[in-house]
């Protein structure tokens, strides 16, 4: 291989590595493992939920993409604040909801990935079941889609 071709290949490889760093991919399985450790529980029905996640990823409701779902059965007093500790840098919590009356909790985190947002929704029901949903949304596309839907109605 000629030195110039080798240099070009190296340049392409370096650019690809930089691009990958600029827009971090979400490793959902790794995230599920971390959240499971944080909440001291294990994910439930991984195959069934995996199938639901697969079909969810095929559809793009309101321009949302890359949807993943996981369900956990927690034991005792769990606190979704632990989820924040399981996330990589770059995630920002935008919504916190704690209903101590009904023992319900919810957290919404976002992380920017170029023009799109990775969104993580964690919910804990009174029966101890926790749901973790991640998806990608583009605010611009979302607004456009909602405007279109509104004008049709």
């Amino acid at each position: 291989m000629k030195p110039t071709a080798l240099a070009a290949l190296a340049a392409v490889w370096l650019c690809a590595a930089n691009t990958a760093q600029a827009s971090p991919r979400l490793d959902f399985n790794q995230l599920v493992d971390r959240v499971a450790v944080a909440l001291h529980c294990r994910p439930q029905h991984p195959h069934l939920v995996g199938m639901v996640s697969f079909f969810a990823r095929l559809s793009h409701p309101h321009e949302a993409r890359g949807m993943h779902i996981a369900i956990f059965e927690t034991h005792g007093e769990s606190n979704l604040d632990a989820v924040a500790g399981a996330l990589d840098a770059g995630w920002t919590q935008i919504i916190r909801h704690d209903n101590y009356r009904d023992h319900e909790q919810a957290r919404i985190f976002v992380r920017q990935d170029g023009k799109r947002f990775q969104m993580l929704i964690a919910n804990l029901d009174d029966d101890g079941e926790a749901q973790l949903v991640t998806l990608e949304v583009a605010p611009g596309d979302l607004i456009h889609e909602l405007d279109r839907h509104r004008s049709q109605n």
Binding site: T92, Q93, I94, I95, R96, H97, D98, N99, Y100, R101, V110, Q112, F117, M119, V137, P139, G140, L142, I143, L146, D147, R150
Partner: protein, 184 residues
């Protein structure tokens, strides 16, 4: 060399109060969350505001929010506590950490609204933060009911009357913005 470090250190010390005088409030109220039956926090800043805009536009309950208004904002922060029983500590002492910040230079109260109902007294206060040029760069709302407390901090260029467009959405309580002279 030591003299240079001394000058730098003094400069940082002098700059610290200026940095503290920002339209962004520290809304941490220790102890109150433990007494609340429901806690809601909204923290939208930077690019996440675009996401908030999308949610606002999906709200069929409201007229279209002026996107220009939202584009001028840098952050929307809301803290809301609901209580099953009116906590005795829900008074001015509880709010002292926030009030101290609102007493700093730049902040001024423009609205105080008091009303009474069967549930008890309700108080809404609206503060604005203006920069040296007189431009409003921030807004704060303290809304207090016997069993509910909401603190809102909006950072960015916003007119008090524009608050009505946002009130009732994104966790911001409905606030009747009247001039200070209309106090009850």
């Amino acid at each position: 060399m030591r003299k240079r470090w001394g000058v730098l250190f003094t400069g940082l010390l002098l700059a610290a109060p200026l940095v503290a005088q920002q339209p962004r409030l520290d809304m941490h109220l220790s102890g109150l969350a433990a007494r609340a039956s429901e806690v809601n926090e909204v923290s939208l800043d930077g690019a996440a505001l675009k996401l908030g805009m999308a949610f606002l536009n999906n709200d069929s309950d409201m007229d279209r929010v002026d996107r220009e208004l939202l584009s001028k904002l840098k952050g929307i922060y809301v803290l809301n506590y609901e209580f099953d029983h009116a906590p005795p500590e829900l008074n001015d002492t509880t709010l002292a950490p926030i009030r101290q910040q609102l007493q700093a230079r730049g902040w001024s109260r423009i609205v105080t609204s008091r009303s009474s109902s069967r549930r008890g007294d309700e108080t809404d206060e609206v503060y604005v933060y203006t920069d040296a040029a007189g431009q409003i760069q921030g807004l704060a709302v303290i809304s207090r009911e016997p069993r509910e407390l909401s603190v809102v901090n909006i950072v960015g260029t916003i007119k008090p009357e524009e608050l009505t467009q946002l009130s009732g959405h994104l966790g911001i309580p409905k606030v009747d913005v009247k001039p200070k002279g209309d106090e009850q």
